[in-house]
Every structure is written in C-alpha cells, then in structure tokens.
C-alpha cells in the first residue's frame, strides 16, 4: 500500500523544519528535556523572543551547546553521553534530584523520538523486542513530564506507518503523548483520533490517511 520511493511531491519537511516547528511551540521560560537524536536539533531553532532552559536527566539543568574540541570535559556530558556545556544560571544535581524534576512534573516539555505512537497516545520507543533490553530514562520522562511531544519521520525506514491504531512494540508509556511532529504533519492525539494541526503543504489529507493507521481528521 505504501510506496517506498516517494515522488518529489511526497517528500516531507526536512528535519530542521520539523525542529523549528517544535521550537515555535515551546513557550518562553519553559523547562525542556530533549531526547537523544533528532530532538536535539530543536534547541538550534529557538527564537530570540524566548528563553528555554534545557534539562539533561544526568543531573544538568541549564545545558548549553556542544563545546569546541579544545573545551571538551568528559565530566560534563549529556544524557546521550556526549560533551556539552552549561550556561550561566545552570546547576548540577544528583540522579535522584534530577528525576524528581521529571517524575514530579516540573519539566514542561519533553521531546522524544518514536518507533510507534498509537491513537490513544501510547508510545513505543525503547525496544524492538530484540537484542539487549535498555530503557534509560525514557519511561520516567513520558510518565513525568507535563507535555510529551514526539518528533519522528512519519514512516519507518521500511515505509511502514509509525502512527498506528495500537502499538505492536513494547510500550514506553501508556496514553502519554500529546502531540506528534513528523515530516508530513503536526498531529494532536485526541479521543476522536489523529487530529491534523498542520499538514505538509505538498501533501493531501487523503495521502496522509494512506500513510497513517487509524483515523486522521482535521
């Protein structure tokens, strides 16, 4: 059903475009945790009209950008274990305190990648069911942060929908996702199904429906 090689018209937004759309939806003065991978791009697209504070679950609040090669400190890393910096007004804490911020509902927005998102907001993003199981902080983040945004390609590498009626992979959290940003659309999780907030200017709703499991509506 789903075409593996899309025509030009069916090519979605670039990652940077998706990231900037998310960046625009993060209000001034938000405390935000960006998941490892694609979501990390969001911080590069925050406009000057707002200040966002980034939390990294390994005990860093007020995370800054990647350091220059000569400024790398192996004791100053992010949750993805990559060297980062800290901004003025930032602070360090231990893991229990850091996850108090998460579990206690103090993180306003968390942006995560996904393997599958279901119509009721279930998220699967930690396990394919194969290999060594490794969850990290994903389950804590989805259970604790006030708003869970998913940033993902609309289709898997094999061309299958990631937005599904029911997840088939092991869940990270149940009913936790509020909004999904893909290369094809911005979609809210609602009781009536996947509600289109914005659709890629090159795509029709009919097309979006063919690449999405479960009802898409506007």
């Amino acid at each position: 059903m789903i075409k593996k090689n899309l025509t030009n018209a069916e090519k979605g937004w670039e990652r940077g475009v998706i990231a900037s759309k998310i960046a625009n939806d993060l209000p001034h003065a938000s405390y935000v945790n960006l998941g490892i991978g694609m979501p990390e791009l969001v911080s590069q697209h925050i406009k000057d009209d707002r200040e966002i504070i980034y939390h990294s679950e390994n005990g860093l609040l007020g995370m800054g950008p990647t350091p220059n090669e000569n400024e790398i400190d192996f004791d100053l890393i992010n949750a993805g274990k990559k060297p980062v910096t800290i901004l003025p007004g930032g602070s360090f804490c231990h893991h229990a305190d850091s996850f108090s911020m998460i579990r206690g509902g103090h993180i306003d927005y968390c942006v995560l990648g996904a393997m599958e998102v279901s119509m009721n907001g279930d998220l699967a993003n930690w396990s394919t069911g194969k290999g060594i199981p490794a969850v990290g902080g994903a389950m804590d983040l989805v259970a604790g942060a006030k708003n869970i945004f998913v940033m993902t390609q609309h289709l898997t590498k094999e061309g299958k929908p990631k937005l599904v009626e029911k997840c088939t992979l092991p869940l990270t959290g149940s009913g936790v996702v509020s909004r999904v940003y893909t290369d094809y659309a911005i979609i809210d999780i609602t009781k009536e199904g996947f509600k289109i907030v914005e659709i890629n200017e090159n795509l029709s709703i009919e097309y979006l429906q063919t690449v999405t499991e479960g009802r898409v509506y506007q």
């Binding site: 504070i53 007004g89 602070s91 360090f92 996850f99 108090s100 103090h106």
Partner: protein, 237 residues
Amino acid sequence: MQINKIKTEIAEMLSDVFDGATIMVGGFGEAGSPIELLHGLIDHGAKDLTIIANNSGNGRVGLGALIGQKQVKKVICSFARSAKGITFQELYNKGEIELEVVPQGTLAERIRAAGSGIPAFYTATAVGTPLAIGKEEKIFNGKKYILEEALNADFALVKADLSDRYGNLTFNKTARNFNPIMCMAAKQSLIQVRKLIEPHQTNPENVITPGIFVKKIIEIDNPIIETNAIEEGMIYP
C-alpha cells in the same frame, strides 16, 4: 527575552493566593521563616488556609500573626507546642483551629515525595504508635511499615539567602531546613531572599534549590529576626 522571576512588591508575590489554599511555610522555628511574606499574606487577607510547616508560630509575628488573624483553619505540623507560641494555642484550646500532627521526618519525606512525583511511600516511623492508626501496614523483610502519602501544596512561602533571576537558591546554615523541599512540593514557590545576584555569580555546583522549583522571587535585604521582634513586643499588623 530573558527569564526573570524577580518581583519588587510583596503583593505581586502573593497575587495568585486564594481562599482555602494549602500553603507550605518554610523554616524550623525562626531559622528560615519567611516573616515578610507571611505579613504580606496577612495584608492579602486570604482565609480558610491550610498551613503545612514544622511549627505553629511564635508570638504575634510571622506565622504566629497569621494564625492570630484567624486566616488559618488547619495546621499540619510536627510540633505545635513552643515556648513562645500564643496564637495557635489560644485558638486550639477554643477548638477554633484544626491540627494534624506528623512526625518531623515523615513530614519532610511526604513533602519531598510530593515534589518528586511519589504519591506514597512506606516508613517504619510511628509504627505501633497512635499516629499509625488508620494507616495501611505492610511487612518488608519481616519488619512492619506504614504507608504515608505525599503532601502537596498550592503555594510555598520560603526564605533563602541568595538568588539569581532564575531562582537558583542558596540558604544560610540551618535556615535551609524545610525550605528546599517545600519549593519542590508547591505549585508556586514564592521566595524572599536576602540578596539578589547575577546568574554568572551562581556557582552551578553549589545551588541548593534550582530555579525549576521557583516561581517568584523578592529581595528583602534586612528581614525581621523573630527573637528580636518578640523581645521588642512587635505585633503584626
């Protein structure tokens, strides 16, 4: 645009407080007690408040004054019997104020639990005592524990030493006490600080309460010292 949580008027600090609110008040005895914010709350006039604190106020200043104004319907605390306490004692003896007694460590942990998204936890504290009556029991490794629930609040009134505009707080000596955990547990934590500093002056290794737990900040550079105020016969308002 820059984050700036600093306010200049006490009325602005307390603008969201409503009748019937649950308010945590930091401090252990007078150390770390946010007297100016408490006086602001008297001026504000909110009623039917539930106060969560370690003590129930001394003399007729700070928490003692707020209770004396009959703005408080219930106090949740560990120790409501202090040498200089007047107003709580008067109202309690007349049956005009409720009291929930909580062991001090359980009080602290219930507050920390609220801030940490833990709805309940087990503790051995109070097992076999009158304060365990009605609480769920469970055995772990052959020992009996009781279940204690998180204590949430709408507001926390807190006194700190230094803060930057983000609300990164440090405290002075044992004036730290309940203040940091109350900042975690309240929907809005409202902080009076002795001195404001610039963000670059905040040492990220030494922050006790990170700004994520702080809503509003005001500088009160020369706060009332309770012992002196009571000795001088101060009565607020």
